[in-house]
Each structure stands twice: as C-alpha cells, then as structure tokens.
Amino acid sequence: MKKFVFTLALAAVCFNATAQSSSETSSKSSTLKSLSVPVSPAFSLTDITPTLVQNPTTPKSFALGIVQSVANGGSYFPDNFSAQFAPVWWVDPEGISIYSYLGLTRPESGKVLDDTRQNIFSGLKFTSLSVGFINKDLIHDNIEKSQKIFSIGAHTTLLRAYHKEHTKALNNAINSWHEHALEDISSNQDLIDAISRLNASDKNYQDQINALTEKMRIKLSAPDLKTINDLIIQKPVFAWDVSVATAGYGISSDAIKIGRSGVWTGLSLNLKLDKKATNYFSINALGRYLYDRYQVNDENVIGKAHNLDAGGNLGFELNRLNIAVESLYRFTNGVSDSKNRTVGIISVKVSDNIFINGTFGKDFSGPNKLISLFGINWGFGKEKVALPE
C-alpha cells in the first residue's frame, strides 16, 4: 500500500511539473492538435461544447427541435440550440447500410467474396452538418454583451483508402457475422416466440420485451463483431478530411454580420509495418484558415484577421514506442507569426494506462527557444493519453 501511495505521489509531482511547463508554453504557441479537422466545425468555430446535441434523422424532428427551442427562449431566436446530422438520413435512407457506411460494395446473392471492392469516396455520402444557435460574447471588447450567433458547418471525409487485404478481411468478417447472427436468432426462437405472444395492449409491454431481449444469447456472432471492430479501427492507408464553417453575429436587432469563418483540412498517410496493424509509419499534414472579423491584435485593437496555420508530423508508431517530429507555422494577415515550433516527441507505453512522454526541440516563441519537456501521463481508462503540448 505504501509503495502504491509513494508511486502515486511521485507521479503526481512529475505530472504537476509537466503541466506547469506545458501551460507556460501553450499559452504562447498553438499546438498541432488544435489544427485537427473538427467533426463538429460549427461548434469548434464558436468555441462551444454543447452538452446536448440533437441528432435529427428527419427534417420534421429538426424543425420541431428549433420550434421548441424558440418557445423556450421566449424570442424569435432559438435558445442555445445545437444539432448535428448527416443529410443522407433525410434524402436517401434506403441507401444506408453497413456496406455503404464502411465503403464496401454491397454483395449480391451468390457473388464471390473477392468481388467486393472498396468505394474510397464513401465518406462523402455521410457528410455531416453541425448547426448552432447560441447567445455568447464573441467580440472581445470592453462591452460585455452577448450576441445572437448562428453557426453552421460541414465535415466530410473526401477520400479514405485501405489495403485490398483489409477490404477482403472486413467483408469476410461481415459475411461470417451475418451467418452466425442468423444462427443466434434461431437459437433464441423460444424467446422470440414469447415476445410474439405478449399482449400489445399491456401497459408494461415494452418492459416485458426488454426483459426477454436481455435473456437473448448472442454467442456465435460476438467474435465476428470483435473482428469487425478491430478492422474498423485500423488506420487507412490514406485519408483526406475537410471541414468548413461560418458564423453570423447578430450585432443589433437589424444587423447581422459574418463574424468568423474557417476551413480545416487534414491528410494522413499510414504505412503498416506489420500484419497485426499495431506498428505504423505515419505522415500527417494539417491546415487551418480562420477569418475573424473581431480579432484583438497585439495592440489591443479589434479588427479583421486572416489566420493561416499549417503543420505536420511524421513518425513511427510502434508497439510501445512512438517517435515523431512535428512542425507548426502560423501566418496572420500574411505575415509569419511568432507561434512556430519544430519539436521531436517520444512516448513510451509503460503499461495500459501509463505513458512516459518527452518533447524536445525549437519553439520560436518566448525568450527560451528550446523546449525540453518530460512527463508521465496515466489514466484509469484504456484509451491512449495525449502527449503533452
């Protein structure tokens, strides 16, 4: 127990020291992570993290959500309403299936498995829109008054390509899943019959159905689902993501102006170094253009600003070791900014939840242009902890 407490205390000290160093640096420089292509650009553009995002699958449910929000707000403007949806659910729901979702051509009955091909543009079909209506002060002047802000954005994967072997393995696993799922359904026929014989007019009808489905034994198809999930999380050989967004500010009751606009793009190339897909050589390029009509400059004056950030990294992602080099450059109104950096990053996975990280390199901001950070990240979950920025 003492050993555990000592380890925890030591780790906390190390983590704290790292956090302080990191915050001092990050306050002066952008990070590569901040350039990531957002899935919900309408929210990223306006710096909001809505706690409740509606996912309307029909135009009717979208309109209903807006009407309810307007009613709650007591004015013509929706009261902090946010929604995200893929329009394909509105216009072509019949075309949605696991095959179109994963970019596989749908096999026809009797067709050989090897005929299944990959549609590298399948992500376009699932382009998502994000919409936000918020009341927030996004003009950083001396007047603390919130504006009525409408923000809309779109995110899509323009291109996503996997190895042929990946496509074949995924299709085989899906076919195996279907075959086993039918057997699973068959082995639960007694429970299905019990559901069929329930009285639909019973007030606890849904509860009775839930109680019976909880008893379902889904055994044969479960390993196939795991295989499919393992294949889905493998990195594509090449992917290209794009997001765009714009936000209108209600400056007064009769004046609406475009306050911010943004475009994000990200390209990634991942070369698998082993068959298990745990080791990669990756190259990522990220770009972001942000227009802010009301940006505060270094002289504390509010004005239009065109910010262009470009960055990238390349490195090896090995079983327990990550080694990468990343660079980041920023231009404001066409002039190179001071917020540039080129650093080397090393991360060692000690156990499932503990990582030792090091960042070394050149930061063009501040008087000390060399970065040297060391730290430990740990967590209680199984997800990978982000490197210190």
């Binding site: 299936s97 696991i98 009955s109 019959d193 839930n210 198809s221 689902l225």
Partner: protein, 130 residues
C-alpha cells in the same frame, strides 16, 4: 396497439419485404406462429446479407397464414468504440415492412418495436394475419 393484415378470402401467395435502415450490422428472420397454442414459430424468410433486408418474397399461402401471427425479428449490432455514438445510431434505426397478396393488397408498416441492449438493438415487427 397491434398491427393487422387482412388476408381475407385470398388463397394466393402472401409476400413480405423488410427494409432495415441502419449503419450497424443487421440480420433478420421472419417466423409465424399460432398465438393460442405453444407450438414453436415456423421460419418463413430471412435476410441474405448484413443489410438485414429481406427482398420481396412469398412466405406462404393465404390459407396457411390466416389466423397466425407474423414476427420479423432483426438483430442489429452497432460497431465502433464510442457508446454515445452507438446510442445515437440505435435511435436512428428504422424498419419498413410490406405485405402483399391478401385482400388488403400491398400494405406498408413503419413502426417496429425496438429494444436496445448495447451494442445490440433488437428490431421487432409483429402483425396478426387475419
């Protein structure tokens, strides 16, 4: 409230088609049974791929089906590692069921029951054939 399809006096083949809309893996099987006894359900149709759809096909003659209850049962497995995304996808699942060949002609039903046991969703359509 229960669904009904009127076979009436038709003695021809009754057909069923099932269209499942989901980004998850889906498998469907349809069966009929007599509600008043304990006999097991008799399978009459099933999906051929992981869309979970059942293409329009004959499921039996009117005289065989009349008085029985038809159940189309679909198992959907949602993929991905994010439970919130799976919950959203579970809500978005739709099912459309069309019966034809009886006195009611072609009739489509769009309101199946759903039971969500993450990562599985059971989509169930039950109809009395009268």
């Amino acid at each position: 409230m229960s669904n009904t399809y009127n076979i009436g006096t038709s003695n021809g083949q009754v057909s069923l088609s099932v269209d499942i809309t989901t980004v998850g893996l889906a498998a469907s099987r349809a069966s009929v049974l007599i509600v008043s006894d304990d006999s097991p359900g008799v399978p009459v149709a099933h999906s051929v791929d992981a869309t979970g759809d059942i293409a329009n096909q004959a499921i039996g003659k009117g005289t065989f089906l009349k008085g029985k209850r038809l159940t189309a049962f679909t198992l959907v497995n949602l993929t991905g590692t994010d439970p919130e995304s799976r919950a959203t996808e579970a809500v978005a699942i739709r099912g459309s069921y069309t019966l034809s060949g009886g006195d009611d002609g072609a009739k489509t039903f769009n309101s199946p029951l759903k039971s969500y046991q993450d990562p599985s969703v059971y989509v169930i359509f039950i109809i009395d054939l009268v």
